[in-house]
Structures are given as structure tokens and as C-alpha cells.
């Protein structure tokens, strides 16, 4: 996405590509981790997507967090 100002997000996120899967995003965002572990971690950060009716399907307009929640 185009942006002229880089303000750190409250919580790091991406917008999935149209052909992304949990695995492709996990591999891209958490490359230093075993894939299964990375997918589970990614899902744990995005429970709202996992439990969405339809079984964890996300759209390219969804926000997907790639970091844990900020400290309270």
C-alpha cells in the first residue's frame, strides 16, 4: 500500500494477498520458525479469523495481526 508517512502501528498487521493461505503468510512473516508452529502462532494472534463462520477463511480486506497484542 502507498503511504507517505510511516507511523508505527499500534499492533503490527498485514492485509492478506488474494491467494494467501495461513501457511504462506506464516512462512513469510515468521520465516525462522517451523511452519506448523508459525501457523499456530499466527492463528493464536487472529482468533477472530479462526472462529469466523466458514472455518478460518479470511479475505484480502481482512486485517491479520503479525504480532502479539500490545502490553496492557
Amino acid at each position: 500500500m502507498s503511504t507517505t508517512i510511516d507511523i508505527p502501528a499500534r499492533r503490527a498487521f498485514i492485509l492478506p494477498h488474494p491467494d494467501d493461505t495461513w501457511e504462506s503468510i506464516a512462512a513469510r512473516q515468521l520465516p525462522d520458525m517451523p511452519l506448523d508452529e508459525a501457523v499456530n502462532l499466527l492463528k493464536s494472534w487472529n482468533i477472530f479469523l479462526v472462529f469466523r463462520p466458514g472455518g478460518g477463511a479470511f479475505t484480502p480486506s481482512d486485517v491479520m495481526f503479525v504480532a502479539p497484542p500490545p502490553a496492557a
Partner: protein, 561 residues
């Protein structure tokens, strides 16, 4: 005659936020011609002693798209002093739309906006396909001004057909959408609406949600060509998601030089810090050159439900939702079946709160009793269940069964009801007033009267803002954000959209059920209190004494050049 209309002896609150002042306003040819001390003849004079004269209020978040086809007054909006409405929000307008998609879009529109099918089908004659044709279909009968949005879901559906519900667009499709959006803006659209959360009648994401970022960005580039606005619905219940959406809107705003707005933003006990977190993010992005304006409604969140149709109250109770969808006889059998009743009880014991609302069915009350429950009117389900020694779910079911499912149940103050806290938010300059949903949810709750409620509760009651600031937030601020030309101020040359009201009594009335849809059935509305007269383009359209006038001076309002 020098003027068509002279309103004299008024307390003029001109929408600028500046101090109100005594004077007269003269109107000629639908425009404000003069303000101040005016000694001249006019075809009609109004003595406004004791009343405030303000610009007509603007309601930026409505779904009157369907109602305007059969009711160019958008009743009861005008009687609350609203002279301009913005329909087409949340990615849903009624055009552009090909005939083969009418049933699909209609079902989605009715589900999301909770409109009765029979009224929708009876009232809409679908004499349009393009946005220009829809505008022409409603233009002639307008008593209220309309600044329509075009819905992103409709744009996708027109270009991609059913694939709009399935996938992202190709480059060629995005280019076609851009051209279509230009056509819609040329035909009178004030901007585009989208959604990041809505689901259709089949529980699938609305077409707008299938768009990849480059598509939304490309469409915002077109909005930027015209300085037109983008309205979006974010995940308003989660602070992290909401902040992410604010950041995305800020990127679009800065990249394309457009104003963006999102709705709703509301407070709840389940997420007491959410508004503060969101507001901080809006402040940060605003300080860095973005224009991202949250819309907040003035009224608490009230819901109602019955067992005849799925309603948003059952959004997180899928078993209850599915039950309401059944044909009546099957539904009645299901509600009488012990095993099915146990399932419904269990679900009511363990459902997830929808969207941070404080939903407690024990606090539901009999809102519209049926034939057998007249004596229970106003009583709480929790009390009735205790008296009967039964589960809350059983009390609801059995009362509904005794009434042949005609009972309506109400729930009040599920959120956005800490009025001392809301007062501070509404007074915040960066928060816009809106998100009212006028014309939608008609069998669930009344979406009218938020303007009067602002004055009664937050000007007179909590003293959160001055009368002048309240008027400014309902008029000039909205016109400025939305690019609505020549409205929102009492100023020479501006359209003579005005409201005369008693500042000591303006309010919303009690919620009532009326039978004025184009098919048998009811809707909830609120009448206005304290509104004396309403003028649109210089002509009286409503008065307290005579009701609605015959004239239809409303217009499709132009965007600022």
C-alpha cells in the same frame, strides 16, 4: 415583493459555532438573501419569537435508499429538523444494479439493514439500473435533500457479476470499476461507501470485503480526483482492529487527498477504553495530515427482537437465528419440541456478547405484546421466568407461542449509555455526530430523533456543549466533511435549508410503532418535540401545527466544487 420569505425576531444560530444573535433571515429563490435587521416586504413572514433558527440538520449515515422510492420525505427525518440525508452507506446502495442481481442485493440489503421483505418488495419498483437512473427515479418526489453515496459492493457486482462475492478483481476489472465510479459521481454520488465487516443474507462477506487493497486504493484515487469522501465500517468492537483501520483510512486520506469517515464508534462496558484508544489514534493520524473522522451516535443502543425473523439481537446465537428463519409451522413445532427447547436454552446460557454489547436476556421486556400477553406489557423476562419457575429462554418462547409469535421483546441501554462519558466524546472536535442508521432496523428499534436527543441530553442535560456547538456539529461540520455545497450555514447565498425550534423543548419523542410501510407491518419511529417549522430550499416542508406540506422542494445536493 423583495423576498419570498422573511423569518424575523429569531435567535439565529448560523452553524459556524459563533455566538447566536437576534435578527431576521430573508429568502429569495430558495437561497438565503440577507441576514440581520431587515425591513422589507416578503410574500410570507414568520415571527420566530422565542425560537432558534438554525441551518437544517444533516444526517450523514442513513439507509433511506429504499424508503425514498416510496416516500420522498424520508419520514420522520424532516420533522426532526433534518433537511439533508446521506443514504448508501456501508457498501450498500440500490444502484448501479443489473436486474439479475436485484434479488441478491435486495436480500442482503434487507438482512443487514433489517427491513421487512414485504415492504421492500412492495415499495421498490426497480425502475433503474444505473446510478443516474436511480437518482432520476427519486429526484422528482423529494421533499428532503439527498446526498447519496454509491456502495462499493454494488460497483463490484456491476463489473464482476457473481464473482464479486468470491474473489479479488483483476486489473481490467479495477479499471472498469474506476470508470463506473466516475459515472456515479457524475450522476450525483457524494462519495463511496465500503465495509470491512458486513455479511450478507447467506452469512458470506459482502462483495466489498473481497477487494484487495489495490482495488480500494484505485477507487480512492478516483474519489481523490473529485475530492469525494470514503465511508467505511470497521471492526468497531476491537481496539486493535479499529486502530489498524484508522491507519488504513489515514493512508488513503493522505495518498489521495480525501476525507474519510468510519461508523460507528460507540462506548460499552465491555470495552470501556476503546473510544479513548481510537480517539488517540485519530488524533495522531490527524496531526500527520490525514482526515479520518469517526461518527458517533447520540442515543444509547437499544435493540428488540421477536421470533418471526432473524434480527441482529441473535447475531451470536446461531441456533436462535436459524430457528427464526424456519417456515412458521415448522418453527412452532420446533419451539414446542422439548429437545429443541433444551438446545435454545443452552445457547442462551453460553452465547458470546455481540460487538461488546451488554446483552442480558433477563432484562428483556415485553415491548409490543401480542393478544395473549397484553397484561405482561413492560414486564421483564427475568421476573416472569422467576414467577413461572422456568428458564429465561422458555419464558420468551412460551410468551411468543401464546401470542402466535406476535410478541416483540425489547432490550435497552446495551451500550453507549454512560451519558456522562458520552458527553465528553460528543463534545470532542474530532468526533463527528452521525452513525444514526436512519431508515434501517425499522422493526428492531427507532433510528430517528438523535438530533433532538443531542439537545435535550447533551446541551440542556449534561451541558457538554453549547447550543451553538451542537448546531455546528449537526450542520456545518458535516457539510464540510462530506463536501456538501452551499449547505450547513445560514449565510447569504447558501441554500435556505433551515429549522426553527424551541431550544428548551427540542427532543426526540417516545418510541412508537406505526403502520406506514407500503405493505402490512409496523416500524418503530420517534416523533419530534420542540420543532416548529422546517424549510428546504426556502420552502416550508413541515410545521408543528400543520404537519407535512404538499411541496417537494428537495434536491440531489451537489458536491463542493
Amino acid at each position: 415583493m423583495a423576498y419570498d420569505l422573511l423569518i424575523s425576531n429569531a435567535r439565529i444560530c448560523d452553524g459556524s459555532g459563533g455566538p447566536s444573535f437576534r435578527g431576521a433571515v430573508a429568502v429569495r429563490d430558495g437561497r438565503i438573501a440577507a441576514i440581520g435587521e431587515i425591513e422589507a416586504d416578503a410574500a410570507e413572514t414568520v415571527d420566530a419569537h422565542g425560537l432558534v433558527l438554525a441551518p437544517g440538520f444533516i444526517d450523514p449515515h442513513t439507509h433511506y435508499d429504499a424508503q425514498l422510492v416510496w416516500d420522498g420525505l424520508a419520514q420522520p427525518a424532516l420533522e426532526h429538523g433534518v433537511t439533508t440525508i446521506v443514504p448508501g452507506n456501508c457498501s450498500l446502495s440500490l444502484a448501479p444494479l443489473r436486474p439479475e442481481h436485484r434479488e441478491l442485493l435486495g436480500a442482503t440489503f434487507r438482512k443487514i439493514e433489517e427491513m421487512p421483505k414485504n415492504a421492500f418488495d412492495a415499495g421498490i419498483d426497480w425502475r433503474w439500473q444505473t446510478f443516474a437512473e436511480y437518482v432520476e427515479a427519486i429526484r422528482g418526489g423529494l421533499g428532503i435533500n439527498v446526498a447519496p453515496l454509491v456502495g462499493h459492493s454494488l460497483i463490484r457486482l456491476w463489473v464482476m457479476g457473481e464473482d464479486a462475492r468470491e474473489r479479488a478483481a483483476t486489473g481490467a476489472e479495477i479499471a472498469a470499476m474506476q470508470d463506473l465510479l466516475r459515472d456515479c459521481l457524475d450522476a450525483g454520488a457524494i462519495g463511496m461507501s465500503g465495509s470491512w465487516v458486513d455479511i450478507d443474507h447467506e452469512n458470506r462477506p459482502v462483495p466489498a470485503r473481497r477487494a484487495a487493497w489495490e482495488e480500494l486504493d484505485a477507487l480512492c484515487a478516483v474519489l481523490g480526483e473529485r475530492k469525494a469522501i470514503l465511508q467505511m465500517v470497521p471492526e468497531f468492537w476491537d481496539p486493535d482492529l479499529l486502530c489498524a483501520r484508522i491507519d488504513l483510512l489515514a493512508d488513503l486520506s493522505r495518498s489521495h487527498g480525501i476525507a474519510t469517515t468510519f461508523s460507528p464508534l460507540f462506548d460499552s462496558n465491555a470495552a470501556p477504553n476503546l473510544v479513548g484508544i481510537a480517539l488517540d489514534r485519530v488524533r495522531l493520524q490527524t496531526a500527520h495530515g490525514a482526515r479520518v473522522v469517526p461518527q458517533m451516535q447520540t442515543r444509547p443502543i437499544d435493540l428488540s427482537f421477536d421470533l418471526t425473523a432473524p434480527m441482529s439481537t441473535f447475531a451470536t446465537l446461531p441456533g436462535w437465528w436459524a430457528m427464526t428463519l424456519l417456515p412458521k409451522e415448522e418453527k412452532l413445532a420446533r419451539l414446542r419440541d422439548p429437545a429443541e427447547r433444551e438446545k435454545l436454552k443452552a445457547e442462551m446460557d453460553s452465547f458470546m456478547m455481540p460487538m461488546s454489547l451488554d446483552l442480558d436476556f433477563a432484562k428483556a421486556f415485553i415491548k409490543r405484546p401480542g393478544p395473549a400477553s397484553q397484561a405482561l406489557a413492560g414486564r421483564f423476562i427475568g421476573d416472569i421466568a422467576q414467577e413461572r419457575g422456568c428458564h429465561i429462554a422458555e419464558a420468551i418462547i412460551d410468551i411468543a407461542l401464546a401470542d402466535d409469535l406476535e410478541t416483540s421483546f425489547g432490550l435497552e441501554a446495551l451500550g453507549h449509555s454512560n451519558m456522562a462519558k458520552i458527553a465528553g466524546f460528543l463534545a470532542e472536535p474530532l468526533i463527528g455526530i452521525g452513525a444514526g442508521d436512519g431508515g434501517a432496523h425499522v422493526t428492531n428499534f427507532s433510528t430517528y430523533g438523535d438530533t433532538g436527543f443531542l439537545f435535550s441530553q447533551y446541551v440542556r442535560g449534561h451541558r457538554a456543549m453549547s447550543l451553538e456547538t451542537a448546531v455546528q456539529k449537526l450542520t456545518h461540520d458535516i457539510a464540510d466533511l462530506w463536501g456538501i455545497r452551499d449547505r450547513g450555514l445560514i449565510k447569504p447565498g447558501y441554500a435556505a435549508d433551515m429549522v426553527l425550534f424551541d431550544p428548551d423543548s427540542i427532543d426526540r419523542g417516545p418510541e412508537i410503532a406505526v403502520d406506514d410501510l407500503p405493505a402490512p407491518g409496523f416500524r418503530y419511529i420517534r416523533r419530534a418535540e420542540g420543532i416548529d417549522q422546517v424549510f428546504v430550499n426556502g420552502r416550508r416542508v413541515y410545521s408543528r401545527d400543520a404537519g407535512y406540506a404538499e411541496s417537494r422542494p428537495g434536491a440531489i445536493v451537489p458536491q463542493m466544487a
